[in-house]
């Protein structure tokens, strides 16, 4: 019942946004921005610049394609799908080129981020580096399922819908993924 209400309110918001109501558009973006950025960060190998780019692209696509959004799936599902595509593209995109630019022209200390304390930052980065290494041992599907189900905490049904696979397939990717991660990160996660 509650879910139905939420969906209806969102459908109303989408209709308003489609008619060009800027407040409704902002409200839609506000509602999902943090969630999508968080998922982007996890999907893009904990690289915040890449995650930021992917998030921006996702919301640009939302704004440019809003008129053709028919509501066949929830907006959240649609955004996750677009985001996954963006993240896979960003990963594929000239990583070397980015590195080259960073090396030669510096990081430009991105204005979008305020740096947390260095010690805290270092410890966090080290952990994320280990997780990234372990995640790279998984297949692409396992990685996606683990990110969406374990890290993002979506339901099996939502994950299946986003990835366009059966719930059985989600489970099997999940079990294998968790098993591998347990082998790789077991000792760390017990700390």
């Amino acid at each position: 019942m509650k879910g139905g209400c939420v969906k209806e309110a969102e459908a109303d918001l989408i209709r308003k946004a489609q008619k060009g109501d800027n407040n409704a558009r902002n409200e839609l973006v506000n509602r999902y921005y943090e969630k999508i950025y968080r998922a982007a960060f996890r999907l893009c190998g904990f690289d915040r610049e890449v995650a930021f780019e992917a998030t921006q692209e996702t919301f640009l696509k939302l704004m440019t394609r809003l008129d053709s959004f028919e509501g066949k799936c929830s907006l959240g599902t649609w955004l996750y799908r677009v985001l996954i595509n963006e993240c896979l593209q960003q990963r594929r995109k000239d990583k070397i080129f980015r590195k080259f630019l960073k090396a030669w022209f510096g990081n430009g200390s991105n204005k979008n981020f305020i740096e947390p304390s260095q010690v805290e930052n270092l410890a966090r980065k080290e952990e994320q580096c280990c997780i990234k290494k372990a995640m790279n041992k998984l297949s692409k599907q396992q990685r996606l399922v683990v990110t969406l189900k374990v890290m993002e905490g979506l339901t099996m049904k939502e994950v299946a819908e986003i990835l366009g696979i059966s719930e059985g397939a989600v489970k099997s990717h999940l079990f294998r993924g968790i098993r591998t991660l347990k082998e790789e990160l077991g000792s760390r996660s017990e700390l």
Partner: protein, 162 residues
């Protein structure tokens, strides 16, 4: 682990086990140390993955900017490239500048040769003039005027000759 319950353990930790199976698993965990250990390990792993993978900061860039910042492909591409493009342009300008200002220093002999070359260009014109002056000026007067002007760029002389 030897006990075949691990899938139920995964599902339970991830809140995906239905009530009946959950109850059954709980009863089993009370009597099986191996599964108990596995359960706590999986739970530890899931918590670890959830917490440690959170972004330290959400970009200060508001969502409004996400909408407005629609520069299209080129703006975004060249936005990234700005420093690189600036470098390339600088290098090109430098190369062009070098070419323009690079004057080969000539020895006095070489300079003389260059001056003579300039003179040789006009030699053909002078030859014609000599013909005109020596021969019949009538039919050549127009050519004469033209060539004179070309040779010295001075109208008075050409008018005088015609």
């Amino acid at each position: 682990m030897r006990c075949p319950r691990c899938k139920d353990i995964y599902l339970s930790v991830l809140d995906e086990l239905d009530a009946g199976a959950e109850e059954e698993l709980k009863t089993h965990l009370e009597s099986c140390d191996e599964c108990k250990k596995e359960y706590s390990e999986v739970q530890g792993l899931v918590n670890y993955l959830r917490v440690k993978t959170l972004p330290d900061i959400i970009p200060a860039h508001g969502p409004q900017k996400a909408i407005k910042r629609d520069g299209g492909f080129f703006v975004r591409f060249f936005g990234v490239l700005k420093p690189a493009v600036a470098m390339i342009i600088l290098v090109l300008l430098f190369a062009v500048g070098l070419q323009l200002f690079h004057q080969p220093s000539l020895s006095p002999e070489e300079k003389e040769v260059v001056e003579n070359m300039e003179f040789l260009k006009d030699l053909d014109v002078l030859e014609k003039l000599v013909q005109i002056v020596d021969g019949t000026p009538g039919e050549h007067s127009s050519i004469c005027r033209k060539h004179f002007r070309m040779a010295w760029g001075d109208e008075i002389y050409s008018e005088f000759l015609s």
